[in-house]
């Protein structure tokens, strides 16, 4: 349910950058460990935009993986928590990243 507050922040960020032009797309980068459920965020973004009277905004979603450094020396990325090291099959790793939800860019109509 916290996706509603994330959606509000995303829409606010997007609208701060339009320079008064019509927003047509929001390009998101969402971490696999951000704790954000895709369908909820998209639903709430639609509602927040609708409330502001803004229609026809496309949302592009890019998954950002968690980066792992295994004790065996292998570095690899995962999107699912229980995926193991592709070289040695273990969980002996330091994991970082994939916790943020970023607005990469927006698209607006040309004047």
């Amino acid at each position: 349910m916290h996706e509603l507050s994330v959606a509000t922040s995303v829409v606010d960020l997007a609208l701060q950058h339009t320079g008064g032009r019509k927003l047509t797309a929001v390009n998101l980068a969402v971490g696999a460990n951000a704790g954000i459920f895709r369908e909820s965020l998209l639903l709430y973004m639609g509602l927040v935009l609708e409330e502001k009277g803004i229609k026809d905004v496309k949302v592009a979603w890019r998954d950002v993986p968690m980066h792992c450094r295994c004790d065996c020396g292998t570095e690899y990325d995962i999107l699912r928590y229980m995926d193991t090291c592709p070289s040695c099959g273990s969980f002996q790793r330091a994991m970082e990243g994939g916790r943020d939800c970023t607005v990469d860019s927006i698209e607006v109509e040309d004047v």
Binding site: M1, H2, S5, V6, S9, V10, L13, A14, H17, T18, G19, R21, T24, N27, N33, A34, G35, I36, Y81, M82, F91, Q92, R93, M95, R99, D100, C101, T102, V103, D104, S105, I106, E107, V108, E109, D110
Partner: protein, 212 residues
């Protein structure tokens, strides 16, 4: 159609306030823990025992949708407690904590626990400025919870496995739960406790006192 670079985090506003909270805690020499669990895992019962141990040196900011039940219990246990009623919001934010701290006398406190809303999902995404997140998992919830709700367990510095006195009566494989916690965060500190018998609390106090 023109593309405009933004490259800003949706969490930025919360993170900025969390850093302000962190700076305040550091200035006051306060050790701050963010307790997260599902409802009924025993967060408040654990805090009652911590209250009995540290009395006025323990401050608690406790979040619930409604009622002041938890703050009332913790004051009775000797702690300095303040209730946040979110009115429906499923997690605490850094700004809710910042606002509540204005109403709290921090001068006598050594430890501050932020007791988050009972919810294994949403609270884990929000930095409140704490020194560490602590997950509470109870034996009545099921041993598969770390694997099913992993985000919290990748962030928690410690996991308290509560209600271990019930292990003979429930189908909870404590080894499996601990193994999954370590798969998600190999450095996690796991402490088995029981609020009924007091088991594990000496270790929990040591963990508290070792925090920097």
């Amino acid at each position: 159609m023109s593309e405009i670079k933004v490259l800003s985090s949706a969490m930025q506003k919360n993170n900025e306030i969390a850093e302000r909270n962190r700076a305040l805690f550091r200035e006051r020499g306060l050790k701050v823990l963010n307790f997260i669990s599902s409802p009924g895992a025993g967060k408040t019962s654990i805090l009652e025992r911590l209250g009995a141990r540290y009395s006025a040196a323990l401050g608690v900011v406790t979040g619930d949708i409604q009622t002041t039940f938890d703050a009332d219990r913790l004051k009775a246990a000797g702690a300095t407690a303040l209730q946040i009623e979110t009115g429906g919001t499923c997690h605490l934010t850094a700004s809710m904590v910042e606002e509540s701290l204005k109403k709290m006398d921090l001068s006598r406190l050594k430890y501050l626990v932020i007791e988050n809303i009972g919810n294994l999902i949403c609270p884990s995404s929000y930095d409140l400025g704490e020194s560490a997140k602590v997950a509470v998992l109870s034996t009545t919830e099921g041993d598969e919870k770390p694997a099913k709700y992993p985000a919290l367990f990748t962030r928690a510095t410690a996991v308290l496995i509560n209600k271990v006195d019930l292990l003979p009566h429930v189908k909870f494989d404590v080894g499996r739960a601990e193994e999954d916690c370590r798969k998600l965060n190999r450095d996690v500190r796991i402490i088995r406790i029981s609020c009924t018998t007091g088991e594990g609390f000496e270790e929990l106090f040591k963990y508290f006192e070792s925090l920097s």
